[in-house]
Symmetry: C2
Subunit: 262 residues, 2 copies
């Protein structure tokens, strides 16, 4: 486990050094364009992390967004997302991060969230979470009316889930912002926010965040309150929704997001 942690931290540093060279290096209006800075940064960082994993543990598997799968049936499989929060990166904003996960027999066992711009390195293993080495915990919150709600996107919720129920929740909580993607889970896990909601996530987004949120003492489920990570195959094929809280509020949040059909 110590070796895995050391490698995970090393991967975060490798990725961060590369993507910072591309951040705000030019106006990128299209994050899907092959020649865009974000695509170049993503590919270069993922390739560098793959090389480092293969050098350290050649029998481990790797799943990344840019270069696909290597040995996905291995006992240990790394998931790589060099730039989580691509929209933040291309908009020149500060909320993007690098997400690195380690699966053991198909279950998330270790997660790393790194904000290269600020040096915040958050690591969780499902039992604990540490920010730059210091233990962190979610904070208690008992009422929706007192909660800080974060989300990755406002307008995309209605495409996947009950948009009206979601809008009602945004008006009910104390404070709502789209400070999302990995950054929203970072704020939740370190005790600065109470609810983080995502209608759609992919394997490399969600896998690292589960051991982080649970390690910080929080709960993470699907939007309906079910398991957020049924299996690698399932999440790879269809993605998943995710709602994370400190726990006490969780059932109330799930109920608010899924009102009975009228």
């Amino acid at each position: 486990m110590h070796d895995f942690l050391a490698l995970a931290e090393h991967l975060a540093q490798i990725s961060g050094a590369i993507i910072l060279r591309y951040f705000r290096s030019g106006v990128a209006v299209d994050d899907k364009a092959d020649g865009s800075p974000v695509t170049a940064a993503d590919r270069e960082a993922e390739a560098a992390m793959r090389a480092a994993i293969t050098a350290a543990f050649p029998w481990h598997g790797i799943i990344g967004e840019e270069y696909g799968y290597e040995r996905p049936d291995a006992e240990y499989v790394w998931t790589l997302d060099p730039i989580d929060g691509t929209k933040s990166f291309v908009t020149g904003s500060f909320l993007f991060s690098t997400l690195i996960g380690l699966l053991w027999r198909g279950r998330p066992m270790l997660g790393v969230l790194h904000h290269p711009l600020t040096g915040h390195l958050l690591i969780g293993d499902g039992r604990q979470a540490r920010l730059n080495g210091q233990p962190v915990h979610v904070r208690p919150c008992a009422r929706l009316e007192d909660a800080v709600l974060l989300a990755s996107s406002h307008t995309s919720v209605a495409r996947y889930e009950n948009g009206e129920a979601y809008d009602a929740l945004t008006r009910r909580v104390r404070f709502y912002r789209t400070w999302g993607d990995g950054h929203g889970y970072f704020l939740l896990a370190t005790g600065y926010a109470d609810i983080m909601a995502d209608p759609i996530m992919w394997l490399w987004d969600v896998a690292p965040l589960i051991p982080i949120v649970e390690g910080a003492g929080g709960r993470i489920t699907s939007w309906r309150g079910g398991p957020v990570f049924e299996s690698v195959e399932r999440v790879l094929a269809a993605g998943t929704s995710a709602v994370a809280t400190a726990g006490g509020l969780h059932d109330a949040v799930i109920a608010a997001l899924n009102p009975p059909a009228s």
Copy 2:
């Protein structure tokens, strides 16, 4: 002017060093509480900037949120907002900034926006804008459907302006996030976003941003398309709304936000 610029940069550095000591120093659930880290940071930073201004130009006026007015009728008056984006600061997120303005005979003549966490220092004088010394410009955008729209808050718009028209605009643009307060104008002025909208701003928020946005080649008006800064007295008493764009889209944005009553 050179001396003013040097002082403005110095103030930003003073403020940044102080507020970073308080950032993420503890869980602050109430930004209005007197003993909260954000209040302590705000007061200490504003006091330090006031002392530096008074040492350099004892005849200049000062207007700040925490300590009120000194010589507000002076020919030159500084406006101080050590932590713009207080909600970001207390939520442990990265989008807060320091805003410093200089008024000449009641008109904004110089603005400074400093992100102490990342070192981005943006200065505008109405004719040009520079980010860490390099000229920056807004980017062209011809259609609402291609625009990146930013705002400080989603849920508070309806309290001040036409919430339905605003919601419709958020669904019409290409991309929408609440990456706001000064940070949204930073992204606009440096060519990474197309529209920044605020239903309510105060003197120390808006005064520095006008020379920055206009210096970068953009337009900034009230939500209705009128002047954003009628007078110091008016803005002090009632605040103002603000909408900033690169210019080409401006009339379309104002029209979308103010539909004819049906």
